[in-house]
């Protein structure tokens, strides 16, 4: 019960932090980015609930978050992801485990577009070919493309699917252990 109280407190602090962040972004931009769920609690992760296991890893139930970016005027937009990441670019989750992020269902101004990665926040040049969904790693961005060009628009939204991938040894805890990961999403535009 005491642990539950502690989680509640963390949540309350995070909400305050979120409110502080939004006005700050308005100061620099006339765009707003919102998440359908800014705080995701995956609850208790049990190894016997893994949807897939193998080679010492357990893939847990995935979680979808909808990301929406709205700007007052049309522009090219790319959303970059950054956080504490391991060698392969997966976002760290716990001491040995990670979160895999997949972007899909990208739309700009209500129209579906394929997407491409970009690794240079300033260029809007696609890095690789366009596709319907992408696994995103630390410091990588995604943008809607039409042909080989970034799409201009006022509103962009997509689905971000997070999949916890836990090392088997991570489950061997002696007490209740909370795994956390903060993933920053930064929208860059050309305005």
């Amino acid at each position: 019960m005491r642990t539950f109280s502690r989680i509640t407190t963390i949540g309350a602090l995070a909400v305050i932090s979120s409110f502080m962040a939004v006005p700050a972004s308005f100061a620099n931009s006339d765009c707003q980015m919102t998440l359908s769920q800014p705080e995701v609690d995956l609850q208790v992760l049990r190894q016997d609930e893994a949807v897939k296991t193998g080679q010492g890893w357990s893939v847990m139930q995935e979680k979808d978050i909808n990301v929406n970016v709205f700007c007052t005027t049309p522009r090219k937009m790319a959303v970059f992801f950054h956080g504490n990441a391991g060698d392969k670019g997966y976002f760290r989750f716990g001491s040995q485990s990670g979160l895999s992020g997949k972007v899909s269902q990208l739309m700009v101004d209500g129209q579906h577009y394929p997407m491409a990665k970009t690794v240079n926040p300033g260029s809007f040049l696609p890095d690789g070919s366009a596709t319907e969904e992408l696994l995103v790693h630390n410091r990588e961005g995604i943008m809607a493309v039409n042909g080989n060009s970034a799409v201009q628009g006022q509103q962009m939204n997509f689905r971000l699917t997070l999949t916890p991938v836990l090392k088997e040894s991570e489950f061997k805890v002696s007490d209740r252990t909370t795994l956390t990961s903060d993933i920053g999403l930064v929208m860059i535009d050309d305005q």
């Binding site: 972004s25 919102t34 970016v69 252990t177 909370t178 795994l179 993933i183 999403l185 930064v186 860059i188």
Partner: protein, 222 residues
């Protein structure tokens, strides 16, 4: 000179692209625990049938000792789908005497009868059965369907449970609705325990003898 100018222009262009920046943070959290839920029995887990005078018991027929109730609470740190299994620890010498509950239900199936231990002369004292009082179930403040299924690799479908518990960890009992378990934070319910002891001629006890049934209730995460 041209190179310097080019570098300056490039820097300005890059800065322009960064001019519009909007950010937010997604916080993800999960919990690992050795046990997400905790079972707690009332009265320290002891069902006490009191002191029974041997002279008050039948010498030739099994003796029903009636029913005692004990409550079991399962408390979870977060909403969890969990059930429980039971296994008798003192099965040796179990005579599998039928037991009768207050509502008239009689349990005769050996799978549902647990041993009460043995006398000093190694004679099985009797048997007891455990019944979940479905009307007492309170799952996060609401009533719920009592259901069960197997625990093996082919557990079968969930079905409504009558409430009589079966030992050997082969059946998991849980709560839900429409044959689907629900995740809960707290579940409380009564366990009815009915016992029967052997005829005193069979027991042949000459000294104070304790009923010594013991059962382990284990949580089974679904």
């Amino acid at each position: 000179m041209n190179k310097l100018l080019f570098a300056t222009l490039l820097t300005m262009a890059t800065s322009s692209a960064f001019a519009g920046e909007t950010s937010t943070t997604l916080k993800v959290q999960g919990t690992l625990t050795t046990s997400a839920c905790t079972p707690t029995l009332s009265n320290g887990g002891i069902v006490d049938f009191g002191t029974i005078q041997v002279s008050s018991l039948s010498s030739t027929q099994p003796n029903s000792l009636g029913q005692k109730d004990i409550s079991l609470s399962i408390t979870c740190d977060s909403a969890t789908k969990v059930g429980f299994t039971v296994i008798s620890n003192h099965e040796e010498g179990n005579p599998y005497n039928s037991v009768e509950f207050s509502n008239g239900n009689v349990v005769t199936n050996h799978d549902n009868l647990f041993g009460l231990g043995k006398t000093a002369e190694n004679i099985g004292i009797g048997s007891y059965g455990v019944w979940v009082d479905a009307s007492s179930i309170n799952v996060d403040g609401s009533t719920a369907q009592l259901m069960s299924r197997g625990t093996g690799s082919n557990p079968g479908d969930w079905n409504t449970s009558m409430g009589v518990l079966r030992g050997s960890d082969s059946i998991v009992t849980s709560f839900g609705s429409f044959n689907e378990p629900v995740a809960f934070n707290s579940a409380t319910f009564s366990l009815e325990v009915a016992a029967t002891v052997q005829p005193t001629d069979t027991l042949a006890i000459t000294d104070t003898t304790s009923l010594d049934g013991e059962m382990t209730i284990s949580l089974f995460y679904l």
